[in-house]
Symmetry: C2
Subunit: 133 residues, 2 copies
DNA sequence: CCTATCACTTGCAATAAGCAAGTGATAAAT
DNA sequence: ATTTATCACTTGCTTATTGCAAGTGATAGG
């Protein structure tokens, strides 16, 4: 993951994209947010079983990289919900193509939710306005 | 990277895709093959500077996972060229979406080759028949 | 007061990445 | 014939990242 500003290994757009999301977990979190999840415990509950330290670390990095924002939904203690930014939501077409690929070549995979291929990045953005859970 | 057979952390198609290509280097190699590169030294020469041990390891894994095949182009000593399979070539739409994303959000990135968005996976497949080098 | 939950953080062992150097086969130059 | 060079790796070693388990602090409920 990229954290510090503008120091890419190359200027190839693919290579840069991989510095943002080229690991085993970042896109899993983005996926969960596409599916409507927003809280730490939601991400933790996913069937891949992300370790908690990696989850905390990735949420921080994804926020630093501008793919998501967090908003407190309670004080005492303060707890956050996480929402996709346009930059994060625009990874949806990437996810969709990855899912198409797996469905074509890996028979054991399960089907995505019914509307997964019809939703668009902008559909993911107003969730932050539907005040929190 | 996935190596051994059918033991995925979950059956989610996105998660499975990431077990194949969810790292910083595999898609760089696939990209180079999409751009017509086929030999070890070609991959090594790319501006990201892949370490040689990782390159050898990724070529082996990508082959084990059926994304590419290798074919000797000389004996004494035997040397191989690498070619995308349909399974590997069908990652092109994923690459294209990743490039679209970076171009939208990272101004410092360079432009891909002119025809990058018009080529199709099947265009990448007959290169193995245009006999070597 | 005891227990539990939630969102983390910390410690630590295991794995993977990254760098430099080495290897073996061969060809080309001296 | 010996040296030099190349190509495709492999090996060794150091550093960084992962992943598991356990701990922490704030709070709520019984």
């Amino acid at each position: 993951m990229k954290t510090e500003t503008q120091n890419y290994r190359s200027k190839c757009p693919l290579s840069i994209a991989l510095e943002f999301i080229g690991d085993k977990w970042s896109l899993i979190i983005i996926r969960d947010m596409c599916l409507g999840k927003s809280k730490y415990c939601d991400f933790q509950a996913s069937s891949e079983g992300i370790p908690t330290n990696i989850l905390a670390n990735r949420l921080r990095e994804l926020e630093e990289n501008g793919l998501l924002v967090k908003r407190p939904y309670q004080d005492k203690p303060v707890r956050y919900e996480y929402f996709l930014t346009p930059k994060g939501a625009d990874l949806l077409p990437v996810l969709q193509q990855l899912v198409i690929w797996t469905q074509k070549y890996v028979s054991e995979c399960m089907a995505p939710p019914e509307d997964f291929f019809t939703i668009k990045p902008e559909d993911l953005l107003n969730r932050i306005n539907r005040v929190g859970k």
